[in-house]
Symmetry: C2
Subunit: 351 residues, 2 copies
């Protein structure tokens, strides 16, 4: 059975992965590369990890691999939650001979891991054409910053040329070492937008990335060209800011704080977590991989500070019974910093 034959036009809840199936598409799972690695290493156990939005394809990819691989090869599929590059299934990585992580850029390099990027094949030019209405005329303002997400990275040169053909001076940079590609942004890192331009064109899906981008670069106009949902918008931080101020206010006066240290690769800010606990006798250090409402409820602290993924704090925050703050918001809530200092929580460097 081929994994290409039964692509459905269903639209799953892919908000968190940025991988929508709205457009019919064929992912390139790079099976040849996997088969080659299995042969080279005489691998007996092959582990596959898919983002949530593509887990439904796991059975088909396993079928294809079983056909291509020696009969005594075990194909394992990770059932751990996977929303991003940080969600590397390290248990599976340690216990398989070849471990394939689909859909995200590398967070940790290892000979054993094969990263299959699963680039989107959505055409980005129609939505870029629409975005011109929001971009300044190149005669008035030539410079435009250009950023995108991992799964549109394959079209980055095309995006740049397209803008240059229309008279723009395209400003890009690789960002810091947390980012793999020129012009790439993560939900927790916008260093690649730190360019000499007052307007930034973000080509990609989701609301989390452009919001963080606009928060991190408040002096710039952030134009969202979303080729997946086919919409052009200006990133508006106001509603988001209100939500965050609300959480900070609810957390003020909390007696006891749970301080979450996330154990996932790429999320461990030990110094940040330790400092909070050291300076506050009513703060307690909690370690966990997945941060969910259920896991916090039983502790019964009044409020939580999440030193792990900011997306959990800001996107999922409303699902939690108690207020959950970023480390910066915590400082505001306990009165160490003024309300005006509220900003988006970002990560730099790698772990």
């Amino acid at each position: 059975m081929s994994h290409d034959s039964d692509v459905e036009r269903t639209e799953g809840d892919l908000r968190n992965t940025g991988m929508a199936l709205k457009h019919e598409r064929t992912w390139d799972y790079e099976l040849d590369r996997i088969v080659e690695a299995v042969e080279e290493r005489s691998a007996k156990k092959v582990g596959l990890q898919f983002p949530e939005g593509l887990k439904r394809r796991a059975g088909r990819v396993a079928d294809d691999l079983r056909e291509l691989l020696p009969a005594d090869t075990n194909v394992l599929i990770s059932g751990q939650p996977c929303y991003g590059a940080c969600d590397l299934d390290t248990y599976m990585m340690r216990r398989t001979d070849v471990f394939v992580h689909f859909g995200h850029s590398p967070m940790k390099e290892s000979e054993k891991i094969i990263y299959v990027p699963l680039f989107s094949n959505v055409d980005v030019t129609p939505i870029m054409e629409e975005s011109l209405a929001e971009l300044s005329d190149p005669d008035e303002q030539e410079a435009v910053g250009l950023v995108t997400t991992a799964q549109h990275m394959n079209k980055f040169d095309e995006m740049r040329s397209w803008l240059e053909d229309r008279g723009y001076a395209v400003e890009t940079r690789r960002g810091d070492e947390r980012l793999t590609h020129e012009g790439q942004v993560l939900g927790c890192n916008y260093a690649s937008a730190d360019v000499d331009a007052d307007q930034i064109l973000y080509v990609g899906g989701g609301k989390f990335h452009p919001l963080g981008l606009a928060m991190e670069h408040p002096e710039k106009k952030v134009i969202i060209a979303d080729p997946v949902n086919n919409v052009v918008k200006i990133a508006d931080t106001e509603k988001f800011m209100k939500q965050r101020y609300g959480a900070v206010h609810r957390a003020m006066g909390s007696e006891e704080w749970g301080v979450i240290f996330c154990t996932k690769i790429g999320q461990g800010r030990w110094d940040v977590a330790e400092e909070i606990v050291e300076e506050n006798d009513d703060a307690y250090l909690l370690t966990m991989d997945e941060v969910t409402p259920d896991r916090l409820t039983n502790f019964g602290f009044d409020a939580y500070v999440n030193t792990g993924c900011p997306r959990i704090t800001t996107d999922d925050g409303p699902q939690f019974k108690q207020p959950m703050l970023t480390p910066g918001e915590y400082e505001i809530a306990i009165g160490e910093k003024p309300l005006e200092s509220l900003s988006f929580d970002t990560f730099h460097g790698t772990w």
Copy 2:
């Protein structure tokens, strides 16, 4: 602040831990033993892991330890789910100098781990007195098997003497190597009830343990003396069996199966999982630690076989959208075994 001063009369949802706070009680956290281990090993990081039902006490225990330990000691609290001995937080274990697991018997022995049993101080004799109405008269049937759970283990000798004083011949055994104590049962192992007696007295809370006990030993009468909920019952497997037959019937005819291999210590039945996948081209091996409805939903398989904790399959099963079966039930569903062979899934040995 003492952890003894503010015990509340609240009744939490402690079904899964068997640790109800219905009776006011003082747990002995054995802080001296922890402090001693920290001093011996000059530990800088101390990790604490509590069962769900006692997570609310974590802050108070941390307070007490912070007072007793050198100021530069970091106290970490595990936020991972913890329902039993298998839920050892191995991440925390590897990254702390002293790791304390509260409330369960050892599943894995290590110099670094301190197991604090947290024995219940509930008086067991009143409920044993009541259970006499269900036990045979010792003149007619002398032999009675006696089993209990980890947290009533401290009263085991008292239970035995109490029965002997009333003329019974108390039959006990240690069970297999999965069990730490004479007379102890786990939710997945009832080998200690394999004694020469037609009636078994189970002293303890919960419904899961006695149900498994009755399923595993259908020829014996299983009397439940529950000192926590203060009730005497006869284990009735009928309703449970109906539920399981229902799940098996719903799973029959499923095209694609997800076969869950649980990565927790003590739950990895690799051979069982591998065999199913090898013999069924439409079965796919999924590896995960926590088995939750959310994690399975995205895969979209028609039915699941859980080779991990039987409690998840049988207790939590109804929460899952698709039928989830034990390995034995799977064999019935695919027609390899007759319906009558349905039995409780148990674990033997250690991993």
